[in-house]
Amino acid sequence: MVEFWMRSIEDLGREEVMSIVDKELHGLYTEKYAPTRDLIIYFAPRENIREIIRRLMMFSYTRLSVIVGNDERYFRRDFSLTYIVSFDKQDLYIGVRTYLPEYDLEIASIADMVKAAWWNERENRDLYGIEFIGLKDKRKLVLPEYWPDDAHPWRKDYPYNKPVMDWREGLPDYKPVGRHEDLDVIGLGPYHMINDEPIHWRLYVKGETIVDAEHRGFHNWRGIEKIAEGRLTYNQIPFIAERICGICGFTHATSYVQAVESLAGIDIPDRARYIRSLMLEIERIESHLLWIGIACHILGFDTGFMLSWKIREHIMHLAEVLTGNRKTYGMDIVGGVRRDVLGDRLGKARDSVKKIRYEYRELYNMLINNSILVKRTRGVGVLPRNKAISYGVVGPVARATGLDIDVRRDHSYAAYKELSFDVPVYSEGDVLAITLVRLDEVFESLDLIEQILDALPGGPLAVDVKDIPENKEAVGVVEAPRGEDIHYVRSGLYNKIQRWRVRAPSYANIPPVKEMLIGYRLADAPIIYASVDPCLACTERYLVIDVDTGSKKIMTDDELRAKSRKLSTRIG
């Protein structure tokens, strides 16, 4: 990793920063344009990309959000790559776009410089066949190993309903990189029916200590974006977007509709903005309580688990009353929301918030006064701040390492500009800090719900949207319970979407887990991995390799949890 000379821009205004960036990139880019209020796109030849990103990352604090590949051969016979860098304090996204002709798809990798690019580059390599020179990790990320190297499903000439082709014989070959290359490792299937996101970790241990970790995920990658581009119209996509995640689905739907509204220049009614905020906060409480419960369960503190999920049940009932469903609220549509919060439902919402606050305060006191819980999490899984910046972590994980970012405040959307809330920030970077950030955020969300219920303005729920403009682009961002959820949308012809890229917060938060695991005990692995709040059930099976003896054993998650619980008993 290259250490940067940092230049602080935290206190500068937006215009100032825009002119500084202009000056900084002078001569490196050919032209620029601003598709929407919060997105500026610079066009640059590919030789300059590395230098531009280096200069952009030199500001403190910026982070690489996502690299969007696109097949633009129908417009201009090229592929494009857009590196979207977030300037959080200035409410600004800067995209750097380069075009690569079809016959020469090569570009210098930036993954050695900015770790956040690591997964993004591998993904674009799989799906568009763009070759990143200097990228060390050439394994597949989203596609299975047996997938032919010359078939790239996100190219537009690859039909969305084409089945898997050319099934190669034999087991998938997923070799570890780096110093364990000589080890003969058999990839063990992390498939499990109950997960929506199975993940496979390889932990290299020396006795009890973890010396390295590797990850393989995306087993259930379905290419939802391609389906949406292929056959859905823009107003059907919110419903499929909501099904990307089972816990924070509404943030995906909101991100998507915000991107479309932004590219079409639609102003949604005030009431719709407030109702969106209301549902987002309900979802945050639901998600955090779920996480708190599971973290307690992993640490062998099942009373906390039961109590937390019991409180969660109130919020699920509230969501059911407000939207008609416990999850997948189905409230979002381009131009507003679909269901109103009226009459007795307002009263019910107030009552539940009161009840939840009362019960949650008791749970909170119980958790932070629990010495086992504190001992098991303090100083465990520390993510150093420079690594956090390089990996571009978001959400509670970032806030636990002292990075004061929150999309609700920084890239304000929905009704958050008119509401007041605090963003809890801790600087330790360990699991305890992450836990405390989440515990505090529940109180903030409860406050926000009360504020919204008090200030809910009248008026219509949605504006009528007929056609969306062609060939416009925008990003939509939402602070999901796990961090920044960014959707890039480019509209196509006939009210369809030409490109839709979803970067969920876990996409930024899972790669650094590798760094967080190293040096800690095997029994701490479940809570470290759980602390970034991926879909926890994904960690159904670990593969443990003892470097000294070279032996391999497979531990089910249950065994590992049992180990983790035994440690708690010892400490207690």
């Binding site: 099904r243 009373t303 019991k310 008609g324 679909r338």
Partner: protein, 184 residues
């Protein structure tokens, strides 16, 4: 901690379902039901349904339009409910739909197609759609109404023929010799 155990049974939040029946809240978005008496077969619901759970098929041989809902695909979003011009679809709060047979999940409304008053072939719209359109005629100025009435009962081909014929007969040209009236 004893405090929490004391309280737990007072705070029971789960239900004994399925041992006891469960009363869902009235807001629940459950099984969408089509009222066959109200449906006119316009197909707006099929157009809006995100996962294509509702489809509209036209059988020109037998003369039926079939609105078919397959609950296995339904995501209970309620788009059909919003767009139906007749209020024929309502999302009930029925949620117990498990069944051993896939056929139980299919519900069909068959509506007669309208026959063209000129050529006698089946049109692509239903009898009820024509009736519905007829009821909308009140309040429209008389000349316009007459014009609409003339076309209303024709199939698409006949409409084209009749009106291009009319248009040709009444054709006027501007000073460049081009037709100033578009035929339709």
């Amino acid at each position: 901690m004893a405090k929490y155990f004391e309280k737990t049974d007072k705070w029971v939040v789960t239900f004994k379902y399925p041992l006891e029946p469960l009363e869902p809240p009235r807001e629940l978005r459950g099984k969408p039901e089509i009222n066959p008496d109200l449906c006119i077969g316009c197909g707006a619901c099929a157009e809006a349904c995100p996962p294509n759970a509702i489809t509209k098929e036209i059988d020109y041989r037998e003369g039926y339009a079939k609105i078919k809902i397959f609950y296995g695909r339904c995501i209970y979003c309620g788009r059909c409910w919003e767009v139906c011009p007749e209020g024929a679809i309502v999302l009930t709060n029925i949620f117990e739909m498990a069944t051993p047979s896939k056929d139980d999940l299919i519900y069909e409304v068959n509506l007669e197609l309208h026959t063209c008053s000129r050529c006698g072939r089946y049109t692509e719209f239903t009898e009820r759609q024509v009736h519905r359109a007829y009821t909308l005629l009140t309040g429209i100025p008389r000349e316009r109404r007459k014009e609409l009435l003339d076309r209303m009962f024709l199939c698409r081909d006949c409409r084209r023929q009749v009106f291009s014929h009319d248009a040709l007969r009444n054709r006027r040209t501007d000073k460049y010799g081009r037709a100033s009236q578009t035929p339709f």
